[in-house]
Structure formats: structure tokens, C-alpha cells
Amino acid sequence: MSQASPSAWARWWDSDLVHSFRHSPTAVVAALLALACVLAAVLAPWIAPHNPFDLATLELADSRLPPAWSAEGNPKYWLGTDDQGRDILSALMFGARISLLVGLSSVALSVLLGVSLGLWAGFWGGKWDALIMRTCDVMLSFPAILVALLIAGVGRALFPQAHEALAFGVLIASITLTGWVQYARTVRGSTLVERHKEYVQAARVTGVSPARIMRRHVLPNVMGPVLVLATIQVATAIITEATLSFLGVGAPPTSPSLGTLIRVGNDYLFSGEWWITIFPGLMLVLISLSVNLLGDWLRDALNPRLQ
């Protein structure tokens, strides 16, 4: 080769996927929004104006103040305060932190569980396939929230003095156990197709063990749809967590998530103090929407038939 080949960074920047991203206004805006929310959540302890959990800094006199731009607002609290004097903006950022944490970790665990089971079912077929797919069918016939409620409720019953970490564990487990099914089915379908392809047969002829074939040959080729599903499922997981928290079986009250904030604020909605519930709601919508739009773009970009 006479000319120096472009660097890995340059090739990635010029690749079809990144090119499609750069030329899709929706994707870019959605990505920026999602990034902003994530950064706000991650850096909350450092950039939040107040610490809503430090009881010493709360002033009851400042409770139920409307947002700063309205008449009775206080510029110290940009989005107003709730019934205990906590700054809504800070509570938003810490709440988003919890929501994102739960959402991302439950999706990660779902992917791990679902992809492994799907690969196993698709590769071996026969009884394993039947067993795993029937389990999926059963799980899909229950509404996800119901199952999550069940698991959360059972968890609480088993561990009545559950401290925070365990409560979060139960919450993440409940969302994971309802979310893995779609990955398993998708991956199983793709594995069934890839298994018969000649590069897999070539690996078998070479003598590669089935486990290595699954991991190194088949897995990279079936991950595409999983990526799309996972992106969209982050939004669903966050909303599920918010629903569970709203129903009272989610995040513990000491570290409220967005759902808890919405629930707390709900009681004050009809007395005219709308900001306590609307702003957390808007934040939730923002996160879900941007992640969903990103997932939509990714699905179209990865679909070879739409090129």
C-alpha cells in the first residue's frame, strides 16, 4: 500500500454509522439531550446548587416556594421547593441519578441474562430451545409491572428491615427478570440463522469447541438488534422504576428517584403547587424521549435494507 491508511479514529468518523448520525438532526439533538441529563445526574453531587438530603441545610420556612421566575419565587431555588424545603432542581438531579443507575444496571443485567439464554437456546436447539422459549412465553403472558410488583413485594416481605442496597437490589432484580425475555427471543432467532452459515461450519471443521464458536463467532453477529433493544429498554426500565416508586415499592424514601418525587408532588397538585410534580415528570419525559429517539435512529441506521 503506497499511501498511509487512515487512522482508526478517522475510519470510525467516516464510517456509515457515524455518518448517518451526523446527518440526522433528530439523533444529534436526542444524543445531546441524553448526554446533558446523564451529565447532570452523574455530576449531581458537585454541581447541584443544594443538597436535598442534608437535613441540616433544609429550611422549613422555604417550603413550597414556586419557581424563581414567578412572583413569590426565590432566586436561590430555581425550580421552587417541595413541602420539606428541598430544592426541586437538586432533587431532580439526584433523582435522575437514582433512576439512571437503576435503569442502566437492570438493562445491563437483562442483556447478559437474555443474550446468554438466547444463544444457548438457538445453538443447541431441541429440548433446551423448547425449555427456554416456553419460559419466555410464560413470562410474557404476565404484565411486566405486575411481575415487578410481585418480586418487590416478596423481597420486602423476606427482608423487612431491608436497608438501601438490598432495596435497590430487589428493584433491579425485578426489572431485570421481566426484561430479559425479548433479548432471548431476538438472539435465539438470529442464532438459528447464523448457526447454519458456512463460517460456523468452517469453525466446526477446524475443531473449535461449541462454547468458543458461540462466543467468538456467533455473538458478534447477533448483537446488532440487541443494541437497539437495549437502548430503547433503558427508557422503559426508567419508567418502570418510576412506576414502582410511584406505587411505593421502588426506591426507598431516603434516596428518592424521579418516581418518588412525582408521587410526593402528586398530593400537592390540586392545591396549585404544580411545580413539585411537574418538573420531575418533565425530566423523566426528557430522558425517556431522548433515549427512545436515539434507539429509533440506531435501529434505522443498522438496518441494511433501509440503506
Binding site: 461450519q201 468452517a202 458478534p220
Partner: protein, 731 residues
């Protein structure tokens, strides 16, 4: 031009088709011009990427966006048709121009019966009542040779076999009596014997109706049999156009000449195929001037700068500067009778070009001296002794060494029964598919055995049985004296796998699209412990890639960056990584273009001679088999019907099926010859005929053939399974 005074039916002038993409505009067709007279058959031939399918699509107006006609025009019967509005196109298609596509399965709507589709087409274009349309449909089906047409009118496409579906598609195309038919690879997806029937049908029907045909294909044999004139396309341009006879025997363009010479001919007997080095340029890298000049041995300086226009030469036109210059284009490609005579002048002229063969041998030697030497097989004295005919294992006394591969009564069946519940409720019996039903053969070390047969005969299953991808239901495979399948199941499976490797048919699916080429070739080395780490294997990988004609620059590339032929080379490099003794090649060149096929076959031949490899070569293409194999086994419905040394099989085929197979191949030499193609189609493997499975199609079948299954017997040095031959009946 040699056209009569009447205006041509179809005229294409300077057609330019472009595809805007984000990397610029790609010109897929660059100034294509030709014409078709009423009632004549024009063949359009070229390799993949030449633009022949696009030409056909442009004529019917089925160009897929973002492709568009950028300039030039198409005239049909004096009227311009490339810029019609959708309604005009709709009225044109079907009524005036009909189309036949490659895959009959997807050309028919699976949800509607054949009759409904025919009637719909007829009524769309002709003012007839539903009843009359139905009668016409029945008549059409009868004309295309479908038995019991009236009953079959209400059947669905999936109830027809491949060949019959293509007949239905032909009936559909002719339903509204168009004057021009565009046929895009109509027989490529069909078996050889069915192909012969369909070509004959197309020819006859078009002649009877006076319809002109534009026949697009890559198969020169089909062109030789059916067409009056042929256009050879290269890189989106017409290289040469003229009468079929002139193009085949006296082509004026170096590409046409090279193409004709590299086609394996059933009657020729050269060991090494003539090959054109390099490959067709990609659309975004078309050379300046003449697109063929990088591969042309006679390129003049003018060829690199100025693009040649079509000029009159002999009875046709060719786009080549050699015609202008006093340079002896005609002397190079003068009138010849045999293919070797045709090749010789070209070979002499190309003497200056370093032969790819010596390059391969040099690289192979370099690879051998690397860390991964091939000590397993000494170059035995049978390697290179290609002409030795006696290979029958039963003549044990004549065989000095045991054969490398010995197969005895090998069989494999698959359970294709309906699920248990369905069987119980509907009282259906279990169904078994006997894919391989008792196969015996032996392959001596260093030789190539070919297995030929049509689709469904079980040859691919035999291949997979030999490499251990399937377990046999019955019978034994002996490799170098030991039971292969016992070894595959045992602890030493890896050692045996090192000695047996496989090359697959589909170059696009046989390499993992997410792995780099270097990783793909290194995997066997790492798996068998021949190299301690990926980095240590690098040298060996580079050596392997060089031995197949690639280089170290290709290590980090992905398979999609290579062409089909190059991918097949990578597969060969991967197969050779463990220095195997036995290679099973499952149709390795079926998916490749003719000139690329020649390169890959020559490469495989060189590697065999250099390393003493033994091949089992599976193919449906008898002409290719003629060139590469020492002995041939013909399979039909899971059984071997004839096994013979190659030369004897082709000179004197014994079994009726072999004779018909050889006869069914379209020959380039037989321009305009009428043949009687073999009747019928391969029966459903789930319900094979009793006795000899070929008897429904055999003109010499008698009562014994219908009841008793023939066994392979050695007669006069060849093995045949046929009662008529064994009884000595005159055939």
C-alpha cells in the same frame, strides 16, 4: 451494421445509469448502445459488476432508486420509453415488453394460484372476458409443457417444482403476447437438465411468436445455443457486439477472447485453464481510458488515455484500439478450431507477463520454509500422475498403496417426519429422507475425485459426512486406515481435524463478517496449538496469504472489502493453515465468475501439485470437473450410478443418466444445434422410485429396472450401477 432495412424493434443509445451515493456519483452504465431487431435473440453476457442486469432493468423501467438514467435513451418501436410516466410504463410492460427473472420462487406471488396470476395478467392487457382469459391461460400452460394444465391452473406456486415454476413464469411473460422479452438469467437457478429444457422452450416459443429476446446471462454455453447475436459487457460498457459465431471463435476484443478461452470446455482437455489476471474494477475505481487496460496484455499507451468507441470490425463492433492500430488483433485472435489453438497465440503474446503459476510456486516454497512447515505429506509419486486411470478399490492387486480415503456403504438419513402430535392425530407415518443411500468409493493419495450430480443428489451431504459435520447412519469412512468417525468422537479428534479440511461454496457466508482476514486465517493455527499466540502466528498467516496470491496488506481488512474470488482464496488459505492432507471442496467455484473461477481452479491445481494434496471436488458443473479431477463419481438421489476415470467417463459414458447429463450441457461449439434434452425432473427425494431410481426418466428401463435396485459393478475398468449396461443391452 448487418441489420435489414427495417428499423430495429429496440434501440438503446448511449445509455448512462448513475447511482448517487454519499461518496459521489457512481456510473454503473457508461454509454451502452445496441439494438435488437424484431424476432432476433440478443445475448448480453458479462461477469458480475458488468452492468448487464441493470441494462435489462433499465429497458423495462425497473431501475431501483437511487439509480437513475442520467443520459442517453431507449426507443421501442420508434417511441422513446425511458422517460415515460408510470401510466405509460404500465401500459408498455406486459403488453409490449415481457420480463423473466432469475428466481422463479420469488417471481410468483405465493398467495395466489397460478391461474389467478395468469388471468390477471391477460385481462390487464387484452380485452377478453374472464372465461376466455382462463382458456388462454390453460392453452399457455399446455404450450409451456405443463402436464394436466387445466387442473394445475388452480395450484399454488409452491406446489410446482423449480423447473415448472420457471415455465409458469415464461407463460406469464408471454401471456399478453409481447414483442420483446427481457430474460435476466432465466436458467441460472435451475439444474443442468432442467436448464436445457427451459432454454429449448424459450427458443421455440419466441420463434413461433416472432418475439425478440434480450437474454442476459453469464453462461456462454446458453448464449451459444440460443442467441443470434451477443453483446459482451465489461465495467458498464459494451466491449464487443456481433454474431455469436464470430464472438466465440474470432473475437476482436482481448477481453472477449480471454473470456472465451477461460471457460472450461467439456470437450477440451487442457489441464490448466487460461486465466485473466486481476478482476473487474469496482464502480468507484474504473480506470481512465479503456476500462480493461490494466488486465490487458496488449495495452497500447493510447488505451490508458482515451476511451475506445465501438468500431466496425468483421461482422460486428468492438471497442478496442488494437483494431485501429496495425497491431495484429486479428492475428492474436485469429480463426481457430480448437480451444488450445485459440489459447496458444495469446499465450505466446503474453510470454512477457510473469506466469501466475511460477509466482504461486515461489510463494509456496517461501511458505514451506516458514515456522509452520508441512511435514505430514511427502510429495508422493502419485502426485502429478494425473493420467493414471485405474482407481477402483476392488482391483486391489493393482493398487500399490492403500487409498487415503475409503468409503464403504456410507448412508445418512434425516428424520423429516411431522411433529409427534400431528402424526398421531393425522395418522401419518414417519418420513425419512435418505440423503445418502449406500455410497462406496476410494480416493488415492494426491489425486482429485469429483462427485457430480444435480441438486438433491446428496453430494453435499457426502462432503459433510467426510469432514465429520454429520454422523453416518450406516457405513464407514476410513481415513489413512483408521475409522474417521470413531476418531472424530474420540479424544484425538483434533489431530484428525488437522489433516482434513473443507472449502465451502458461498464465499460470502464462509468468512465471519466481523473478523479480520488475519484473525480468520490464524484461528486454525491457534486452535491446534501450532502457534503460541496471535502475534507469533502473524508470519505464518502472511505466508499463507501469499501462497494464495494475497499479501500482508490484507491482514487487517474485513471480508466485505474483498471480491468473491479473493474471499475464496482466503478460505483456501484458512483451510491450508494446518497443512492438511485431504481437502473437501464443496462447489468452491460455483458462485464465482468464469474468469475468477479459472484463477481459483488453477491455484488449487498448483497447490495440489506443490503440496501433494488430495481433493474431493463436489460440483454440478461437468465442464469444470473435466479439468480438475482424476476420477468422477456421478450421483443420483443419494446413490452412485457411475464411477470412472475422468477421461473415460467423458469419452464413453455408460450410465444413461451420465450420458444425458453430458448431453444436456450447452456447448459453445454447438451454435444453433438442436438437442433432445432429458425428460422429466429429479423426483421428490422423500418418495424415491422403486428399484433403480432413474427408471422414470430412462428410455431403456424395463421391468427389472422398476423392481430391482442395481448395484455398482466394475465393467471394463469403470463402475456402473445399471441393469441395462450390466446385461449388455444395446443402448
Amino acid at each position: 451494421m448487418d441489420l435489414p432495412h427495417t428499423a430495429p424493434l429496440l434501440e438503446v443509445k448511449d445509455l448512462v445509469v448513475e447511482f448517487p451515493s454519499r461518496r459521489g456519483v457512481l456510473r454503473a452504465l457508461d454509454g451502452v448502445s445496441f439494438s435488437v431487431a424484431a424476432g432476433e435473440v440478443l445475448g448480453v453476457v458479462g461477469e458480475s459488476g458488468a452492468g448487464k442486469s441493470l441494462t435489462g432493468a433499465s429497458i423495462i423501467g425497473l431501475l431501483e432508486p437511487p439509480g437513475r438514467i442520467a443520459s442517453g435513451g431507449i426507443w421501442f418501436d420508434g417511441q422513446r420509453i425511458d422517460n415515460l410516466d408510470p401510466e405509460g410504463l404500465r401500459r408498455l410492460r406486459g403488453r409490449h415488453i415481457g420480463a423473466i427473472f432469475q428466481d422463479p420462487l420469488t417471481s410468483l406471488n405465493p398467495l395466489y394460484s397460478v391461474g389467478q396470476q395468469l388471468v390477471e395478467t391477460i385481462q390487464a392487457h387484452l380485452p377478453v372476458s374472464a372465461h376466455e382469459a382462463r382458456e388462454r391461460a390453460v392453452a399457455l400452460l399446455q404450450e409451456t409443457g405443463i402436464a394436466a394444465a387445466r387442473e394445475r391452473l388452480d395450484h399454488y406456486p409452491h406446489q410446482f417444482s423449480g423447473g415448472m415454476r420457471q415455465r409458469v413464469v415464461i407463460a406469464l411473460a408471454l401471456a399478453a403476447e409481447p414483442r420483446l422479452i427481457v430474460a435476466d438469467e432465466p436458467t441460472t437457478a435451475l439444474d443442468v437438465s432442467v436448464q436445457a429444457q427451459i432454454i429449448g422452450l424459450l427458443k421455440r416459443l419466441c420463434r413461433e411468436r416472432g418475439a425478440a429476446v434480450v437474454l442476459i446471462t453469464h453462461d456462454m454455453g446458453v448464449i451459444a445455443e440460443t442467441c443470434d447475436r451477443v453483446a459482451v459487457m465489461y465495467a458498464g460498457r459494451v466491449a464487443e457486439i456481433g454474431p455469436v459465431d464470430a464472438i466465440i471463435h474470432r473475437s476482436a476484443h482481448p477481453y472477449s477472447a480471454g473470456l472465451m478461452a477461460s471457460i472450461p470446455d467439456i470437450d477440451g482437455d487442457d489441464e490448466r485453464l487460461h486465466q485473466i489476471d486481476g478482476s473487474m474494477p469496482r464502480l468507484n475505481a474504473i480506470p481512465s481510458g479503456c476500462a480493461y487496460h490494466p488486465r490487458c496484455a496488449h495495452a497500447l499507451p493510447r488505451c490508458t488515455q482515451q476511451r475506445p468507441e465501438l468500431q466496425s470490425v468483421g461482422q460486428g463492433l468492438a471497442a478496442c484500439w488494437l483494431i485501429d492500430a496495425a497491431a495484429p488483433a486479428h492475428a492474436l485472435v485469429g480463426a481457430v478450431q480448437t480451444r488450445s489453438e485459440r489459447v496458444a497465440p495469446l499465450a505466446r503474446a503474453m510470454a512477457g507477463v510473469p506466469a501466475a503459476r511460477s509466482l504461486v510456486q515461489a510463494n509456496t516454497a517461501a511458505a514451506h520454509s516458514g515456522p509452520i512447515a508441512a511435514p505430514n505429506t511427502p510429495i508422493s509419486d502419485t502426485a502429478g500422475d494425473v493420467g493414471q486411470p485405474d482407481t477402483s478399490a476392488s482391483a486391489a492387486g493393482l493398487q500399490p498403496t492403500t487409498p487415503l480415503v475409503q468409503v464403504r456403504d456410507l448412508a445418512r438419513h434425516f428424520d423429516v417426519s411431522a411433529p409427534w402430535l400431528n402424526r398421531v392425530l393425522e395418522r401419518q407415518p414417519r418420513q425419512w429422507l435418505h440423503a445418502v443411500d449406500g455410497v462406496d468409493f476410494a480416493i488415492p493419495r494426491g489425486q482429485t475425485m469429483a462427485l457430480v450430480g444435480e441438486s438433491g443428489c446428496g453430494k453435499s451431504t457426502v462432503a459433510r459426512l467426510l469432514v465429520g459435520l454429520y454422523q453416518p447412519s450406516r457405513g464407514q469412512v476410513q481415513f489413512d486406515g483408521q475409522d474417521a468417525h470413531a476418531a472424530f468422537a474420540g479424544r484425538d479428534a483434533l489431530a484428525l481435524r488437522r489433516r482434513i479440511q473443507m472449502i465451502f461454496q458461498d464465499p460470502y457466508a464462509s468468512l465471519n463478517p466481523r473478523w479480520t482476514v488475519g484473525d480468520v486465517v490464524a484461528e486454525p493455527l491457534l486452535e491446534h496449538g501450532l502457534a503460541p499466540s496471535r502475534a507469533a502466528a502473524q508470519d505464518a498467516v502472511v505466508g499463507l496469504l501469499q501462497s494464495v496470491g494475497l499479501g500482508s496488506a490484507d491482514l487487517g481488512k474485513y471480508p466485505h472489502q474483498f471480491s468473491g474470488g479473493q474471499r475464496q482464496r482466503i478460505s483456501i488459505a484458512r483451510a491450508l493453515a494446518t497443512a492438511p492432507e485431504f481437502l473437501v471442496c464443496d462447489e468452491p467455484t460455483s458462485a464465482l465468475d468464469v474468469s475468477v473461477q479459472a484463477q481459483v481452479l488453477n491455484l488449487m491445481g498448483d497447490l495440489q501439485r506443490a503440496r501433494g494434496l488430495t481433493y474431493l471436488f463436489i460440483s454440478h458443473n461437468l465442464a469444470v470437473v473435466r479439468h480438475v479431477s482424476d476420477q468422477v463419481g456421478v450421483m443420483y438421489l443419494g446413490r452412485l450410478v457411475e464411477v470412472a476415470p475422468t477421461r473415460r467417463l467423458f469419452a464413453q459414458p455408460r450410465h444413461p443418466y451420465t450420458r444425458m447429463l453430458i448431453d444436456a450441457i450447452p456447448r459453445m461449439r454447438d451454435h444453433g444445434r438442436e438437442r433432445t434434452p432429458v425428460q422429466g425432473e429429479v423426483p421428490n427425494p422423500l418418495q424415491p422410485p422403486t428399484g433403480c431410481s432413474f427408471h422414470p426418466r430412462c428410455p431403456w428401463a424395463d421391468a427389472r429396472c422398476r423392481s430391482e435396485r442395481p448395484v455398482l459393478q466394475t465393467i471394463d475398468g469403470v463402475q456402473v450401477a445399471c441393469h441395462a449396461v450390466q446385461e449388455g443391452r444395446p443402448l
